[in-house]
């Protein structure tokens, strides 16, 4: 199947000489939620801005919905909806007019029923006649999303969509994004909230210094790069780690009452069984144990700091 977004050898050098993207290659499939993660200044927004037509590319090529973003820019842009990072809204316009404007701008005939549906889905219907300047930050964020959805895009870019919004709204947005995906919309998400990517994404891409350093299915990424940790609370204090355990990746807590054993998710239980056996042989008793898996955030931090 042809990817919805195809980026080939994409580079961007700004006028001041700063190279924001260095030969990026990326394919995003139809109907998936793709999370693009990266530290500040990594090139996430530049990449999105190029695909959407806001920034000119220096080298390479990009297609959206199968159309070249330069040669067939009308077709490509018709397929794209963008929710930018900043809350850039027409403060003096009403919600209804602002959303209707976006639909017209993207070449779609007026469709009040669709606008009504979008506003209702985003809990904006009651505010349709309000000026945008009178809305709260969260409501303005919803207006931005409504504008991006007004022309029924096949591909939706969400650039930090939940920055500065409360937990309830964030949950609402996650729900909305899932519904859009169910209807076949491709969603590309950049976020600083790694839990957001962990919660929603099908695939994760990590960008650092203008280069894509990893693209992987989220579940595989979690199992491939994730770590597991076993913590054992000891019955009595250990002065130091017994020699039999020093070959294992085990640490003794400062107070001597806890053993912390870290292992790869894929390595599974062999090491744990061996450790527990060794502890039994040494007569070290424990009163409790817990295991935990590393989060996507920990994996991400590990990747970008490598």
């Amino acid at each position: 199947m042809q990817p919805d977004i195809s980026v080939k050898n994409l580079s961007k050098v700004y006028e001041d000489g700063f190279q924001a993207l260095k030969g990026v290659n990326l394919e995003i499939n139809r109907g998936e939620i793709f999370a693009l993660l990266g530290p500040n200044g990594a090139g996430k927004t530049t990449l999105i801005s190029i695909i959407c037509g806001i920034v000119n590319l220096s080298n390479g090529s990009v297609t959206a919905a199968g159309f070249d973003i330069r040669k067939q820019y009308r077709k490509a842009r018709e397929a794209i909806g963008l929710v930018p990072q900043e809350l850039n809204t027409d403060s003096f316009e009403t919600v209804w007019n602002a959303v209707s404007f976006s639909r017209g701008l993207f070449g779609k005939s007026p469709n009040p029923a669709h606008i009504e549906k979008v506003l209702k889905d985003l809990s904006l219907w009651e505010k349709r006649n309000n000026r945008i300047m009178s809305l709260s930050g969260g409501m303005k964020r919803r207006v931005m999303i409504a504008k991006a959805l007004s022309h029924e895009p096949q591909i939706l870019f969400l650039d930090e969509p939940t920055a500065g919004v409360d937990v309830e709204l964030r949950r609402d947005m996650w729900e909305m994004v899932r519904k859009l995906r169910e209807n076949g919309t491709t969603i590309i998400l950049t976020t600083h909230y790694i839990e957001e990517a962990e919660e929603m994404a099908d695939r994760i891409g990590v960008i650092r210094h203008g280069e894509i350093i990893l693209v992987e299915e989220k579940d595989r990424l979690m199992s491939k790069l994730g770590k597991k940790e076993l913590r054992l609370q000891l019955q009595s204090r250990l002065e130091q780690l017994p020699g039999e355990l020093t070959l294992e990746p085990i640490e003794l807590s400062e107070d001597g009452y806890e053993l912390i054993y870290t292992f790869d998710s894929q390595q599974q239980q062999a090491g744990v069984a061996r450790l527990l056996r060794t502890l039994g042989d040494l007569g070290i008793e424990y009163r409790d144990l817990q295991t935990r898996e590393s989060s996507l955030e920990e994996i991400f931090v590990g990747l970008v700091h490598e």
Binding site: R74, G104, L105, G107
Partner: protein, 253 residues
């Protein structure tokens, strides 16, 4: 062609005019009325005729042109500058609209507003001064041609400006002096010969002269030259806008 896109931009800009009717329409009408009262009725009654036209009637084309130029530039420059300032320009840049369509929307709306304003001022002038229009079709043609040309010019200023000060500099520091020295209040025939020659380098002379010819059949320069100079300026603006969109100057990095 994305006609829905053009219409969206056009309607959005016209809606802005309705929201700011005091600033967009009433303020220029009132200030022009003051000119009519002071120069047309009060001082004008003590002035002699120029080219057999009463002084009050003589200054009408120039005063309409003054408002038309200022409002065309102001409307178009604000129209494109505000999305840049507020950041909403991202939507226009990411939309499936060509630069011709963007210009049609913004410049079309700015020119429409200016023409409406020009006609309102003309109607208001009738309250203070008696005048007639000898060539009404030419008068409207000049009105539209000037409004479009200077709206294009304003669009360029709006893209060039990176602050509100720059937005005001060209209309206040350049256009206003050119209009006042372009024969609004006098015929350039009344100037010493050297100043007549210098005045011919002022593009506004051609606009006012042509517009006045449409009213009274008298002009400082031949009407054909007036039309030609306006078209040349329009062409220069169009070429500049084409270059702006081709290079992305101050729009796309």
């Amino acid at each position: 062609m994305n006609l829905y896109g053009v219409r969206a931009i056009y309607n959005f800009e016209m809606a802005r005019m309705k929201r700011t009717v005091m600033q967009s329409v009433l303020a220029p009408v009132i200030s022009t009325c003051l000119y009519f009262v002071v120069f047309g009725s009060a001082i004008g009654s003590r002035m002699g005729d120029i080219d057999s036209i009463s002084y009050g009637a003589y200054i009408i084309p120039g005063l309409v042109m003054l408002s038309l130029l200022m409002q065309s530039i102001s409307n178009a420059s604000f129209g494109i500058y505000m999305p840049k300032f507020s950041g909403t320009i991202y939507e226009v840049l990411s939309a499936p609209v060509s630069y011709v369509e963007v210009v049609l929307g913004y410049v079309g709306a700015a020119a429409t507003k200016s023409v409406i304003l020009g006609l309102i001022i003309l109607a208001t002038a009738r309250v203070f001064v008696d005048y007639s229009v000898l060539h009404p079709v030419w008068m409207v043609s000049f009105l539209v041609l000037t409004a479009v040309t200077f709206s294009l010019f304003g669009f360029i200023i709006g893209i060039w400006a990176d602050g509100f000060e720059k937005l005001q500099i060209v209309p206040m520091m350049i256009v206003t002096p050119l209009v006042f020295l372009g024969g609004t209040f006098y015929s350039i025939d009344m100037l010493p010969e050297i100043w007549q020659t210098i005045s011919l380098f002022n593009p506004v002379v051609y606009l006012i002269s042509g517009f006045r010819w449409a009213f009274y059949g008298v002009s400082d320069v031949h009407v054909g030259i007036s039309v030609g100079m306006t078209l040349v300026f329009m062409l220069a603006c169009m070429v500049s806008i084409w270059w702006i969109f081709k290079t992305g100057y101050r729009l796309r990095s």
